[in-house]
């Protein structure tokens, strides 16, 4: 079935066009055009918006706002986003990073979506249709989402306060076995006061490791201090089996990699 592309200068007009059946939003093309090339017949019209607001990055004070159309390459290159740049660099190779967008990554099915794992740990807010919802809530309901994500925003972690790890078999670039992002806050005594951990490839979409987060609070980031968190790291996960790794393997290695990430200084 031939594809048609509709281009609008405003998000509102593109949003109105998306209400028609058989439409899908086009960001960088690494999901939508890929699906079309693969023979996905669930859409015949791609809709895009060229509003420059979609490709804007604003880091004001402690808060960062990234337009949904911003590419991974642009995130990685932005001096104000250096703390989280490694999560953007984890996505694809250079060509993919020049196309793949922050908004699109929110919709990537496992084993993709490494940047969204970072957004979960950052407790980002997803902006769409004039509203704003936490990224965790957005991900849970994304299958029924029909609007246009315009931006994501989050409080910038302090220098060194953002931990990220992606495990792939092919170096330096490969599809994820799993990815983990963590933002851990400690008091002056080195005890964890709050923790957010995002997991990639441990379900059909990125999820939070809530049990491990809870088990970290009050403990130090030492081998003994994190033992309880590692023991419950797999709670609530439903890892997929795909060409990269089996569900069993992912479940086995998750605590190993979480340990490395939490003990890294």
């Amino acid at each position: 079935m031939p594809l048609t592309l509709q281009t609008f200068s405003t998000i509102a007009d593109a949003g109105a066009a998306l209400k028609a059946s058989g439409t899908r939003y086009l960001g960088g093309g690494t999901l939508a055009v890929r699906a079309a090339n693969e023979g996905d017949l669930s859409f015949s019209t791609l809709v895009r918006a060229t509003d420059p607001a979609l490709s804007a990055i604003a880091v004001e004070g402690a808060r960062a706002t990234i337009g949904a159309g911003v590419t991974m390459a642009a995130v990685a290159a932005h001096p104000g986003l250096a703390v989280i740049a490694r999560a953007a660099r984890a996505v694809g190779g250079p060509a993919v990073r020049n196309q793949a967008t922050v908004g699109g990554n929110l919709f990537a099915a496992s084993p993709y979506g490494d940047f969204t794992v970072a957004l979960l740990a950052l407790d980002a807010t997803v902006h769409a249709g004039g509203g704003a919802i936490p990224v965790e809530e957005f991900l849970a309901g994304r299958d029924g989402f029909t609007g246009i994500v315009t931006a994501v925003s989050f409080a910038m972690p302090r220098d060194g306060g953002f931990r990220f790890l992606k495990v792939s078999r092919v170096k330096p670039k490969g599809v994820s076995v799993l990815s983990i992002a963590a933002v851990v806050e400690e008091d002056g005594d080195g005890r964890v006061t709050a923790a957010r951990i995002g997991l990639g490839c441990m379900a059909d979409r990125p999820i939070r490791a809530k049990a491990a987060e809870k088990a970290l609070v009050g403990n130090r980031l030492t081998a003994d201090g994190i033992a309880a968190a590692l023991a419950v790291a797999g709670e609530g996960t439903v890892p997929p089996t795909d060409a990269v790794a089996s569900a069993w393997y992912r479940a086995e290695v998750l605590p190993v990699h979480l340990k490395r990430l939490l003990l890294a200084r």
């Binding site: 031939p2 055009v33 079309a36 090339n37 190779g93 060509a95 993919v96 020049n98 196309q99 330096p172």
Partner: protein, 160 residues
Amino acid sequence: MAKVPVQFSLNGSEKAEFVDSGATLLAVLRGKAGDTSPKGGCHQGTCGACSVLIDGELRLSCLTLAETCEGAEITTTAGLAEAGVLHPLQRAFMDGFAAQCGFCTPGMLMAAKALLDRTPNPTREDVVEAISGNVCRCTGYEPIIQAILAAARANSHNAA
């Protein structure tokens, strides 16, 4: 099906084509503009064989709709040689046996060009990262990495 006019520059020459709305840049380059240097490998963004430069940025032409390239400057491997003289990267690939079956070569060359345009004296790690989205099933990558490093050395030698 309505055709859509698209104008772009391809390796320095102006092109105006009527394309199917929703046609990929790869399909238009190969089927309309007569440039078969970008290859269609996986059509999924996994192999990098279709890599071209759009306004100087490395992109996957199989995942880019031609209509979105209105006014863009597109560079492909077919545009690397000037007046019959091979580009230093092409020369280095030839001298270093960096092409075997050759299918990945145009994509590798464009990825390498994107690197050298920004980083004229790359480290080995820079090169490995730059071609990390390009799959080669013949060479084991080493001759390609060496060829790109050799081309960079030749460039800096010429510039000195």
